[in-house]
Amino acid sequence: MINHPNKELGGWQLFRKYFSELWFGIRTLLKGLRITSGYFFSPKEIITEQYPENRATLKMFDRFKGEVIMSHTAENRHRCTGCGICEMNCPNGSIQVITRKETTPEGKSVRGLDKHIYHLGMCTFCGLCVKSCPSDALAFGQKFEHAVFNRHHLTKVLNQPGSLLQKEIKAS
C-alpha cells in the first residue's frame, strides 16, 4: 500500500518489493489479530467491576475525598470552634460558618458554632478547609453517591443538631 515513486527499480525488483510489502502488511495485521483474539479467549483478564452489586465489598481508599464531614463523638460532640478559617480558605465559598454567642459555666461569653453549612454542589475538593482547620474538626468522608433530585439537598449542615463542642477544646 506504499506509494513511493521507485523509478530506478527494475521490473523484478518492483515485483519483489510489491510482494514483500504485501507480506509485511499481512504479518503486522496478524500480529494485531493475535493480541485481540488472545484477550477474547482469556476471560480472566476482564476488569469490569460490577458496581451496584459489589457495593458491599467496594471500599474506597482511606484518603478518598468524597465529601467534607465533621466527626462527632458518641456524646454528640464535635471539635469545631466556629473560628471561620475554613470559610476564609475555601476558594469557592462553599462553606458558611454561622456562630452564636454562648455563655460558659464560668459566666464568660464565647463564640460557639451554630451551623456549619457546606454546599457540596460548589465544592471542588481542594482540601484547603481540612488542611487549615486548627482543631481538626473537618475531614473527608468516603461517601461518593451524591446524586440527588433537588439541588437544595446538596447544601448540608455538617454539625448534628444539638451537638456541642468537645470539652477539651477551648472555645475562642
Partner: protein, 360 residues
C-alpha cells in the same frame, strides 16, 4: 447425509396445500409463509448479531458487555429496539423527504432479498435459482443505492461525504467480491448454490481448491467486509471523522433499519463465504476416515451452516475491533493495486488447474 433432508418436509407441505386450494393460491400462500418466516428470521438474526457483536467486542476489550437486561444481557438488544421504536423521527430542514424516507427501506430490502437464495440445509432454500450466486451479488449491491440516497437526501455535508465514500468503495470492492467467487464458479462449474454445495460433499473448496481457493477466500473475506461497510473499511460511517457518515441525520427506527441492514449484510457475506468456500451445510469430511465422517454426519446441517457462518462473522468482527480505519485513497489503492490484480492472476491459475484437472 440423508439423515436431515428437508426436501420431503417442504414437499409434503406443498402437497398438503395443493390438496386444499388452487395452484395460484398455493403459490401465494407459500410466498406469504416464506416471507413471514424470513421476516422472523431476519429480526432474530439481526438482534442476535447485535448482541454477539457487543459481547465479542466486550471480551476483546476486557469488558463484560451487556449484562443488565435479562440473563447475560440477552434481552438488551430487544430493549434497545424498543427504545429506538419510541424515539422521535427527526427530519432535517430542507431534506428531500421522499428519498430520505425511502433510503432505509432500500437498504433493508436489499439485504432481505438476498436471504431467499441462501441454502440453509438440503431442501431448505426458498429460491434455488440457476444463477443463485449472481443473484445474491447483484441484490446485495443494491445497498449502496440506499446509502447514496440517504447521504444525498439528508441535506448534510457529513452525510454526503459518507455516501460518496461509500459509493466509491462499494463499486470497487464489488469487483473483488465477484472475481473471488468466480474461482469457485470455475471449480464447481455452476452458479446454482445448491450445486455448489453438493459439489463439496467430498471436501470443501477451501481444501480441494489448493492455494488459489485459499487466496480467493481471503480476498472474499476482505472485500465483503469492505462491501458491507464494516471496520476497518467503515469509510461511510467513519465515526471519528464524519460522526456517523451517511446516517448522521437518521434517528429512531429509520436508524435502526440501517443498523440492522449492516448486520444482515455481514451475515450474508459470512453465509455466502461459508456456502461457497466452506461447504455450506455439508459436514466436515476427511477422505479415508469413515468413522469420523459418520459422526460428522450426525450433526444437523443447520448447525453446520450456522456454525461456519458465525465463525466467519467472528473473524469479521475481530477485524473491526483490531484494526485502525483506512483512509479513502488507501482503501481504493488496496482494491485496485492489490486485491484486483492478485484476483485476476488467481482466476488464471484456477482455470489452468481446472483445465488440467489438478483439483481433487
Amino acid at each position: 447425509m440423508n439423515l436431515y433432508d428437508f426436501s420431503s418436509l417442504t414437499q409434503s407441505i406443498h402437497q398438503g396445500l395443493s390438496a386444499m386450494m388452487a395452484p395460484a393460491w398455493v403459490t401465494v400462500t407459500e410466498m406469504v409463509l416464506v416471507g413471514v418466516v424470513f421476516l422472523l428470521f431476519y429480526a432474530l438474526v439481526g438482534l442476535a448479531l447485535v448482541y454477539i457483536e457487543r459481547k465479542v467486542c466486550a471480551f476483546i476489550q476486557n469488558r463484560l458487555g451487556p449484562n443488565r437486561v435479562g440473563p447475560y444481557g440477552l434481552v438488551q438488544t430487544v430493549a434497545d429496539l424498543i427504545k429506538l421504536l419510541f424515539k422521535e423521527l427527526l427530519m432535517v430542514h430542507k431534506a428531500d423527504k421522499f428519498l430520505f424516507n425511502l433510503a432505509p427501506f432500500i437498504v433493508i430490502i436489499a439485504s432481505f432479498l438476498a436471504i431467499g437464495a441462501l441454502p440453509f440445509a438440503k431442501g431448505l432454500q426458498a429460491l434455488d435459482l440457476n444463477v443463485g450466486l449472481f443473484y445474491i451479488i447483484s441484490v446485495t449491491s443494491l445497498t449502496v443505492l440506499g446509502i447514496l440516497l440517504a447521504g444525498w437526501s439528508s441535506n448534510s455535508k457529513y452525510s454526503l461525504l459518507g455516501a460518496m465514500r461509500s459509493g466509491a468503495q462499494v463499486i470497487s470492492y464489488e469487483l473483488s467480491v465477484g472475481m473471488s467467487l468466480l474461482t469457485i464458479i470455475i471449480f464447481s462449474g455452476s452458479m446454482q448454490l445448491s450445486v455448489i454445495v453438493d459439489s463439496q460433499a467430498d471436501g470443501w473448496w477451501l481444501f480441494k481448491g489448493h492455494v488459489p481457493a485459499f487466496i480467493a477466500f481471503v480476498i472474499f473475506l476482505v472485500a465483503s467486509t469492505a462491501e458491507t461497510n464494516r471496520g476497518p473499511f467503515d469509510m461511510a460511517e467513519a465515526e471519528s471523522e464524519l460522526t456517523a457518515g451517511f446516517h448522521t441525520e437518521y434517528s429512531g427506527i429509520k436508524f435502526a433499519f440501517f443498523f440492522l441492514a449492516e448486520y444482515m449484510n455481514m451475515f450474508l457475506a459470512a453465509a455466502l463465504a461459508a456456502t461457497v468456500f466452506l461447504g455450506g451445510w455439508q459436514p466436515l469430511h476427511f477422505g479415508g476416515l469413515e468413522a469420523f465422517n459418520r459422526v460428522m454426519d450426525f450433526i444437523p446441517p443447520l448447525v453446520w451452516f450456522f456454525g461456519k457462518t458465525f465463525a466467519l462473522i467472528y473473524i469479521i468482527m475481530l477485524f473491526k475491533w483490531t484494526f485502525p480505519r483506512l483512509r479513502i485513497d488507501q482503501l481504493l489503492t488496496l482494491e485496485w493495486k492489490y486485491l484486483l490484480p492478485i484476483n485476476l492472476v488467481n482466476i488464471l491459475v484456477v482455470s489452468w488447474v481446472v483445465l488440467k484437472g489438478w483439483h481433487f
